[in-house]
């Protein structure tokens, strides 16, 4: 087990190195970054070429092949020291930009995830118990529709219907302009009110995969021998389903939870974009468009790291949760 873990962690480091090389190459191939657009658009700078070179030197982005390689290694060394560099646009350290904007995204994703699980797991088990029933068909179609809707389209439609035409909810943002006298409870309720639509979109879009996964799993468990045994010894159907099936259905779901790690912390770019939420996804979109090279590197490496960790935890969790699974090498 320990040997397996160490091997996997070493492998993860190799993967991350590969990711960083590809990312760095792509980023360095970007012909125009924030520096160029800033230096050349500012008429007060007398000698833009000179200034550009100074700026590039400061960020370790001098042109040329060998300089790029040098730049990569200095970036890598800084990364090992926990330093992701300074964002060009905001002037803050990249890790600060990420952590400052992460709160909103994390909150939304976490609540959405909990809602998804609360709806998907009972519904999935119900569907599997009445396979090919009316509810099952309904849930399958709902799942498919959820998977098929493009985020921006569902978001826009929801905004158009519920915010613009009906005026029930707010179209975007996190707070409305409240008077300064408003108490913290009013502010909190106001924020909740803003969250309803984005939450709805997030839940509809990702509930499908959970529902389907629960359903397939339950179907598999229902065919298992121990369920037949449980029925044979005369247990009531309810106790078979809720005691024996339910618990065993959860096993693979628990492991799958680790896979949601990146989406929890990195924000939903499109949803945040559509609803104009001040989260990390929105920030990342904005800064990537502006060509903020240190931030692009830092943010994408952050996602890659979480993805790798997510996969690692998933694999280890399999063995932890289910004693039948043996981790080989």
């Amino acid at each position: 087990m320990l040997k397996y873990c160490i091997k996997r962690i070493l492998l993860s480091i190799v993967i991350l190195l590969g990711v960083s090389i590809i990312l760095y190459t792509l980023v360095r191939c970007m012909p125009v970054s924030y520096l160029e657009s800033q230096v050349y658009s500012n008429p007060q700078i007398e000698n833009p070429e000179q200034r550009l070179l100074e700026m590039q030197k400061y960020y370790g982005l001098e042109p040329g092949f060998w300089n790029a390689i040098k730049g990569y290694f200095s970036w890598l060394v800084n990364l090992c020291h926990g330093d992701l560099g300074v964002s060009m646009v905001t002037g803050q350290a990249v890790e600060d930009v990420i952590f400052d904007n992460m709160g909103v995204s994390f909150g939304i994703s976490l609540v959405a995830l909990v809602l998804e699980l609360l709806i998907a797991i009972p519904l999935g088990i119900k569907c599997a118990c009445n396979q090919y029933g009316k509810l099952d068909y309904f849930a399958t179609v709902l799942t498919m529709i959820g998977i098929s809707f493009p985020t921006f389209f569902l978001g826009s439609i929801v905004i158009k219907i519920f915010a613009v035409d009906l005026g029930w909810f707010e179209a975007g943002g996190l707070n409305s302009n409240l008077p300064t006298t408003a108490g913290s409870f009013t502010r909190f309720m106001d924020m909740l009110w803003h969250m309803v639509l984005p939450m709805f979109v997030l839940v509809i879009l990702s509930i499908g995969s959970w529902l389907r996964y629960t359903r397939t799993n339950t179907l598999e468990v229902l065919n298992a021998d121990y369920i037949r045994t449980a029925r044979a010894k005369g247990l009531s159907e309810n106790s078979v389903i809720y005691k024996h099936v339910f618990r065993n259905t959860l096993i693979p779901l628990v492991t799958l939870l680790a896979g949601t790690l990146p989406s929890l912390f990195c924000g939903a770019m499109i949803t945040e974009q559509v609803f104009n939420l001040p989260g990390i996804g929105n920030k990342a979109y904005d800064l990537t468009q502006k060509g903020d090279i240190p931030f692009i590197m830092g943010y994408n490496m952050f996602i890659a790291m979480l993805t790798v960790i997510g996969i690692l935890i998933t694999d280890i969790m399999y063995a932890v949760v289910d004693p039948r699974v043996k981790l080989g090498d």
């Binding site: 990711v19 068909y137 498919m144 529709i145 493009p150 905004i159 990146p262």
Partner: protein
Amino acid sequence: MKKNKKLDVSQQPENTPVTETEETVAVVTENESLHGENLNDRVRVLSPGMMVAKRFFRSKLSLIGLIMLIALFLFSFLGPVFSQWYVDGERVKDTENITIIADVQAIEYTTEDGEKVIAYIITENADATVNANGDMTAEHLLGTDKSGYDLFTDLMLGGRVSLTIGFVVVLLETLLGVVLGGLAGYYGKWVDSLIMRIVDIISCIPTLPIMLILSAMFTSLGIVKMDRLYYMMIFLTFIGWGGIARLVRGQILSLREQEFMLAAKCSGLSTRKKIFRHLLPNVMPQLIVSMTMGLGSIILMEATLGYLGLGAPLDVPTWGSMINTATDLINVTANFWIPPGICITLAILAFNFVGDGLRDAFDPKMKR
């Protein structure tokens, strides 16, 4: 199972009557003399393909998906032929039904006498040469866009591009995935490790941010118009082949241990023949399912990129870029963005329905 009481024979039996050679004829007559009837009358012979088709068409959802797909294809590939705004492979601007749009702007000011006066500035686009932002009429079912092109025709043409992108990318992806995944699965050892680590790396790279970077690169490198579309397809391929490679490798790893592969080895077949004639056909079911599902996700990707303004150039209508022309979706009239959005959703839905139906149909454990 209830309906079909006749026996399904999944493998073609050896003595299926073929009347070409004398020998088989002899077998048939022998059969007839023995049992008094032809084998074919009692046993309905179904090839594996026919059984899959039967299971596929029994499911309502996959049938709906298939019909939706056919309708969408006819709509996009045949539809423009009947449009009067699409002549000789070119879109035609509407220069006749020009509606004069008056823009009224109110200005409030106070005169020297202290009187409040409201003045209006009325701007007319009287010199307009095209029917821009036209309303929905019988001629323009969905109105016109800001350059006077018919939106309904654009919708059909956009479908052509979007669906073609989907197909091209999925085909390229599958080709790359099958070859590399096949090599990894068949040879194992360091080839396997190398290819699978590359797949791991690619699957860890976040797609959307990378496409943002690439799009910025395309713009500043001056890659515009159709070229941009081709480059986009190449990159979507590079991002997407990993999943298929994993699938093919996994299947081949388990298949190559089976007896028929030992038999293939014993008969001295070449490696190429072993992989492409004996291993790959066994992976085909999963491959077809994942290709169908992949088509949906590629179209989704294209649409998302189009929405962010990164995908196809604006003068080539695709479903994604049509939504982008209405960047601030809510304030633009609904006829701009709702129809392409519905088309995208329908296409993805149809591919998912068909893919799901195929998966169930290919699964021999399914009892339905």
